[in-house]
Amino acid sequence: MNVIINGERHEFRRSMTVRELLGELKIDSSRGMAVAINDSVVPKQEFDRAAITEGDRVEIIRATQGG
């Protein structure tokens, strides 16, 4: 599966849920972080169900300093 994560191409053996992807990337899904697939936000409670599939654009963001 090829997906674009934060603007860069990544390849995975299989399709995954968001939760699985975060695990793969070793990202702690704590406060201050959110995920969108193809410009749609995935609520945290959907992480276990929401599937990432071939060609998806995934954004993983968090809060940082800004004015």
Binding site: G7, E8, I27, M33, A36, V41, I61, Q65, G66, G67
Partner: protein, 258 residues
């Protein structure tokens, strides 16, 4: 609108100073400056997580106290981008508060008011508490208010310019018409600018560069805290009228040797 506190949506704040968290030397300085500012609301940006180092401590881990976070949409040039950013922010930070920016020009960072209105209308419908960064135009401010924004946040001068309150007349017109709080966002350079804006009757001030870019951010944050309070008190007290000629402060009766 002479409430003791600053009321935004359903929430109430005793500090009228909102500060940004950008451009500090490090997180320590950020934390100390924010504390010195007395702010209860701080702005944050949303950016892509660095996948190479996904779990390094971030700003929020460094701030000792719990602040009300105000995520911004800095860097967005279209309504679509801004709306997505707000939705991500709500999810990430569990808040409906957003500082809505849609930039129209890279050089001036002035807002694109068409896109801004468009985004504001969408976000209000989705239940956001929208605080829009806009130009100091009474017509646009009225439209934003009519769209359901919780405040209007006209710029006083370009972001980071430090030029101060370039057009107090526009602010006066906005203040006179407005039924939501008017918060000056961008342009303040030093303490007297903040006092001056508050004396006009503004309900709050949002700033970042004036503090973070100063020679001593912690000291300047303290200055800004006092300046905002001073300006508000002066506004509430009601200043003396201006006049060309003098009035003696000492009695004119009982002069010696006359």
């Amino acid at each position: 609108m002479r409430n003791k506190n600053l009321i935004l949506g359903s929430r109430e704040f005793s500090s009228r100073l909102i500060v940004g968290t950008g451009k500090y030397r490090d997180y320590d300085q950020t934390r100390q400056a924010i504390e010195a500012s007395g702010a209860e609301i701080i702005t944050v940006a949303l950016r892509r997580l660095n996948l190479d180092n996904p779990n390094d401590k971030g700003l929020l881990d460094y701030l000792g106290k719990t602040y009300t976070l105000l995520p911004n949409t800095a860097g967005c040039y279209t309504a679509k981008e801004a709306v997505l950013t707000c939705r991500l922010a709500r999810e990430a930070l569990d808040t409906t508060f957003v500082k809505l920016e849609v930039i129209g020009d890279q050089k001036t960072l002035f807002p694109d008011n068409e896109q801004l209105l468009d985004a504001a209308r969408t976000l209000v419908k989705e239940g956001f508490t929208v605080l829009p960064y806009c130009i100091d135009d009474p017509v646009i401010c009225k439209k934003l208010e009519d769209a359901g924004c919780a405040a209007v946040m006209p710029l006083a001068a370009p972001i980071g310019s430090g030029l101060g309150i370039r057009n107090p007349y526009n602010l006066m017109m906005i203040l006179e018409q407005s039924r939501v709080p008017v918060i000056v966002d961008a342009g303040v350079g030093t303490a007297s600018d903040a006092s001056f804006a508050m004396e006009l009757g503004c309900h709050g001030i949002l700033m970042n560069t004036a503090i973070a870019g100063s020679g001593d951010p912690v000291k300047m944050a303290h200055a800004m805290k006092l300046a905002v309070e001073a300006g508000r008190l002066a506004f509430e007290a009601g200043r003396i009228p201006k006049k060309l000629y003098a009035t003696a402060s000492s009695p004119v009766e009982g002069l010696i040797g006359r």
